[in-house]
């Protein structure tokens, strides 16, 4: 997780990140952009997502389920939870899932303020 930039790159694995990566790969294939530019875009993406989630996102989510397994290694938590119910702000309905995997990094990085 410790990359050459000071933000986590784990958001690249979400829906938004993978779509961006696919689009950039296509542009590189067409030779419309240089690979270094794509790298810069992704690094910018890391920073923007991290900052936006931290500052702009206020909604809350709670969830309940049974913990199947846990792991803590390299300062990263990985949880596998079964029979999960997610609830958004208020009674806007809920989402259920059989298996949920949560990968979680510390909000404080040791090289950050």
């Amino acid at each position: 997780m410790a990359a050459s930039n000071s933000f986590y790159d784990l958001y690249r694995h979400g829906s938004l990140g993978t779509t961006l990566t696919d689009a950039l790969d296509e542009l590189i294939g067409d030779e419309s952009i240089a690979p270094q530019l794509a790298m810069k875009v992704l690094t910018q993406f890391d920073r923007v997502v991290a900052e936006t989630l931290q500052e702009k996102v206020k909604s809350r989510l709670t969830f309940k389920g049974s913990l199947d397994t846990y792991r803590f290694c390299d300062e990263v938590w990985t949880f596998l939870i079964r029979n999960v119910t997610f609830k958004m702000d208020g009674n806007q309905g809920q989402v259920v899932a059989d298996k949920v995997k949560i990968v979680s990094c510390s909000a404080k990085r040791n090289d950050d303020k």
């Binding site: 397994t69 846990y70 792991r71 803590f72 290694c73």
Partner: protein, 222 residues
């Protein structure tokens, strides 16, 4: 004055107590926790183990061991790179052994070839309630010379270390400590066998009656 700091392990307060047997109507300490160690006799790459095994934590800067938990028996194990292991939380000697084997199996599933050497119970913790309040200060005053310690500013319980002497073959027995509280609740810790638990409690229980006190007779709390 120097002598009063020394504990005379051989002196008994009362000769009759030496031969006093454990009475059947006396309360029996309930074992709560067993701590055991075992040697898997194989070098382990802790980083690799923390990535392969389930339900593990590894914080190398904090502790040079992988912390693994299993659900049945519900126990926590500390596994070291040397292959040595500590297993905590089992409720009986047999369960401690079973748990240690399950932890060893988890290590095996990660590609190692563990053995199961030198399994040993290192500590047994038990608790008991004598059912009456105890005047700790009086108890400490009488038995200070044989190991009773009571400093309420430091800790609200009286600690009473028991020296059980040797086994029949000459090997030393464990020295369990009893933590006695005003409520009459007692914790026995430091024993290596369940018999040591019972014997050490049996030595102290009769001594408590001289310091029994009943606080508020109309109180509903026991």
């Amino acid at each position: 004055m120097a002598d009063s700091n020394q504990v005379d392990r051989n002196r008994d307060i009362s000769p009759e107590l030496e031969t006093l047997e454990y009475q059947p109507d006396w309360p029996v300490p309930q074992v709560q926790n067993f701590v055991a160690t075992a040697n898997l006799d194989c070098r382990i790459d802790l980083y690799h183990l923390s990535q392969q095994a389930r339900n593990v934590e590894y914080r190398p800067r904090r502790l040079a061991a992988v912390i693994m938990r299993i659900r049945d028996p519900r126990t926590t194990a500390l596994i070291f790179a040397s292959g040595k292991m500590v297993v905590i939380g089992a409720k009986s000697e047999a369960l401690a052994r079973l748990a240690a084997r399950k932890h060893a199996y988890a290590v095996q599933k990660c590609g190692y070839k563990p053995k199961f050497l030198d399994f040993k119970i290192q500590n047994i913790v038990a608790s008991v309630n004598v059912g009456f309040n105890v005047r700790l200060e009086g108890l400490a005053n009488r038995y200070h010379a044989v190991g009773a310690r009571y400093v309420p500013e430091i800790f609200p319980g009286l600690s009473f270390k028991q020296y059980l002497g040797n086994n029949a073959d000459g090997s030393p027995r464990s020295s369990p400590t009893l933590l006695i509280f005003t409520s009459g609740k007692i914790v026995v810790t430091g024993a290596k066998t369940e018999d040591d638990v019972k014997v050490s409690f049996g030595r102290v229980y009769p001594l408590l009656f001289d310091f029994r006190f009943d606080s508020d007779p109309t109180s509903t709390t026991k």
